[in-house]
Symmetry: C2
Subunit: 499 residues, 2 copies
């Protein structure tokens, strides 16, 4: 094969520079959440804004379009990874150039302002205080969606979705969500009935030493294959996985009266982290080396948390260690009780606290509402009423306050319309991928009970992580599971676990 | 006054961008030293290199020279801070443009390589392994010095010195160092004689809990006025003060069998940190808002450590707290003994472990050697012999190995020729400034004994910190102490403390 055309090599160089900047940005974001004293806020915002502007300038330089054209015209000089890399470059460039810099700046200012107002408005349960700035954000997000819609020739909501899950469209989501809406309400009732018949769930009594909780988290991260040469575990108010693949910064939070949440939180983030650490090393500085999208990312965290760690097999490995760490004994510490605790189903107001049965209903509600806000069918002023009526319909609950209702999530104030569906797409994918792994690794349940996770990780590395963004989510899922994304594996998983 | 010319405002905007980038770089450097797992090294180096290149590109854009010319031509529209800011911009720009980008890149590669080799060569006491790469560094540093010498019309060594201590010249340093060389050897003998007559120094016996050591550090930092809303204390292998004025990241290290070093280390860095936190808020993003230079910076750390914290007054405030923290009692914990411990004079091989009497002799030796290497009078191959003969002359000691000799410091492998003198200029300035503060605050000794540091800090803020880089070091010293930098106050301080 000939040398890649110089246009392509120049693009790779630009992308390496963008990757170095975004790696710096990721570290600074982590630092803001974990380390930084309050007084550093303003200067940090300035640093992040400046690096954002510089990245945008590099990506939208006048010569970039011509370089992309030229490199595409010489696609015959490229191998398949390079071609995929070029496709990803083009996609980034399209997103960056579809919107005028003024609109990007206005949107960024509006979301920063709205997020700040949201923090207070949520605490004070004051939707009226949020409304004007949220209207600004929705208006500007609609302008962005319209601009991208025109540039890409796809629907406005699809154009937003494409940022978080490239290639995904409402035409893919709608049938999946409709099927879930048909299935989940009855299933939920059946699961609740069955739960009622079981013994009541007991909560182990604390206090639980925070350092012991951390050590336990580290133990399970190590067992699962997290590489501490290339990452850390720290504490932040909202758990997240940040950093870069070579240095994954995972955070969790601890409560002294309950170890169960923080442990599953750590395991959830470990799923994200293993994906990042498994991305192809050769392509770390290029778009094709990045994680495929938010749905696949969430599939990896939910696979580790929901499919694996809340299973009876995993708990039979983990519980002896947990009991030993806290010196726990008595009925609350028995395996069956802890299993019931970790598999408890309970309709509630808050998405992030939801179990895996009710979670998709939270997401589908938000999806309906955000598509309606984007199309203009739902004015922001009517959001609280629409939210509450949706919650009644989906879960039979009426939020007693907007704080427990439409003020709970940061996504919309942050301008992230089009993000929510990826949580549930990820849950579906997690079930489908874990089922495929179970077919490939016939000994998997016994391995899990013995705490041997290397075969599972190796399978995920090969079938999911190592592809980076070389293939589409669809192609990756197809190759790994033999089918496009569907609801069947998720339903089978729920039936097996809850009925 | 008219609006500042738009050229000046454009320059301010560029500088704000450079400041945001250098703030990001400072945080990433801190992260590398304190937080980062080993495996993040390569990606971090790439991030820092990229941000360095971007900064250099911004600073050396073709239009910058014209903007500077234009803004200077319209100096009448600027107030005194803006004019000083413009002067600092010009100085930065001169340093950045005097050297070809190729030479900058070659120097940066050579120093990275040499620093890496140095780490092993020092451990293995192998000067021969270091020599070739150190020769490269010296050769390239000479080329830089020659280029800057030609551009600025000053001597090559002065051109390097100017990076670390703007405006400083060997013509200022030479008479000061000559005077010190005349004074210190006899003084040292006298101090050692007097020490011999005193009771032997006892070391408090550990172990000393690391968290207690940290708490003590935090207590004294708070007492001295460190603002924890805008900074932190952490641990690193080599203590340093990093971050930015709004978020000062100070580090120290603890040893469980000796609290005395880490405590003084923390106080030393606190002096640096107080300077940073006291820089003018209005000018935080501009060159004129930066600390004046390395000599004044070192003067602030040595003022807090050497002048203040190792004094009998400070220890009479601090010792009861230290004793209480560790539950210390007995002869080793008596005030007189701890004072003797903190004021012990002892010729040794290692600069960073040296007391304030012998420290300047270490520095002067390095100054003589680095000026000779730069002029070509001293080939790198002859460095070990020249070092050892210099040590014999200065301190009567022959290093038993290069590890305890010319391999001990990272400065030359890092290309930092011209840096060493600032340590001793800082020590002289510290004595002179502390004496002036003592004249201005007649109650100072009693305040120190009571742990009241606010008056001293206020005086330093007003007379040193608040000037940023608006005035020269000389002007600041003159205004604060009534005299140019001299040796008199340092000599008086040594006589009062050690004879």
């Amino acid at each position: 094969m000939a040398e890649p055309a110089s246009a392509y090599l120049q693009l790779e160089e630009n992308c390496a520079r963008l990757s170095a900047i975004s790696g710096a940005v990721a570290t600074l974001h982590w630092d803001s959440a974990v380390i930084m004293p309050q007084g550093g806020n303003e200067a940090r915002a300035e640093q992040l804004a400046t690096l954002g502007v510089i990245s945008h300038e590099i990506l939208t330089r006048p010569e970039m379009g011509a370089l992309l054209d030229e490199a595409e015209a010489r696609g015959d000089t490229l191998d398949s990874w390079q071609r995929a890399n070029l496709r990803e470059m083009r996609n980034r460039w399209r997103h960056a150039t579809a919107v005028s810099p003024d609109l990007v700046a206005a949107h960024s200012r509006a979301t920063s302002r709205c997020e700040m107002i949201w923090r207070t408005a949520r605490l004070e349960n004051d939707f009226a205080a949020l409304r004007p700035s949220l209207e600004d954000v929705v208006t500007l997000t609609r302008e962005i969606a319209a601009a991208k819609s025109a540039a890409f020739g796809i629907a406005p909501y699809d154009a937003l979705l494409d940022e978080y899950e490239p290639g995904c469209r409402t035409s893919v989501i709608d049938p999946l969500f409709t099927e879930l809406e048909g299935f989940l309400p009855d299933f939920l009732q059946a699961a609740l009935e069955r739960q009622k018949a079981a013994p009541p769930v007991l909560r182990p009594e604390g206090p639980f030493d925070l350092l012991v909780q951390k050590d336990l988290g580290l133990t399970f991260m190590t067992a699962l294959g997290f590489d501490f040469e290339h990452g850390r575990l720290d504490v932040s108010h909202h758990p997240f996985t940040g950093g870069i693949p070579d240095d994954v910064r995972l955070t969790t939070r601890y409560e002294s009266d309950d170890f169960t949440q923080s442990l599953m939180g750590t395991l959830h983030e470990t799923g994200h982290a293993l994906y990042e650490q498994g991305l192809p090393k050769r392509w770390r500085s290029q778009p094709v080396g990045l994680a495929r999208g938010m749905a696949l990312h969430e599939s990896q965290s939910l696979l580790i948390e929901m499919q694996l760690s809340r299973s009876a097999d995993f708990l039979s490995f983990a519980l002896p260690k947990i009991r030993a760490a806290f010196g726990g004994s008595g009925p609350a510490w028995e395996t069956d009780n802890i299993l019931r605790l970790y598999q408890k189903v309970e309709p509630g107001f808050i998405r992030v606290d939801a179990d895996e049965v009710t979670y998709p209903l939270h997401v589908i509600l938000r999806y309906r509402l955000e598509t309606a806000m984007l199309s203009g069918d739902l004015p922001v002023a009517d959001l609280p009423a629409a939210w509450n009526s949706g919650m009644r319909q989906a879960l039979g609950l009426t939020p007693p306050s907007d704080r427990l209702g439409c003020l709970q999530d940061i996504h919309w104030p942050g301008g992230a319309i089009g993000y929510f569906p990826t949580y549930t797409l990820g849950a579906l994918a997690a079930a489908q991928i874990f089922a495929a792994a179970g077919r490939a690794l016939v000994d998997l349940p016994a391995q899990v009970r013995r705490g041997e996770f290397a075969p599972l990780l190796a399978w995920l590395r090969e079938n999911i992580h190592a592809h980076g963004s070389c293939r589409s989510t669809d192609e990756i899922l197809h190759a790994a599971t033999g089918a496009p994304l569907g609801v069947a594996a998720f339903k089978a998983h729920l039936r097996a676990r809850y009925l």
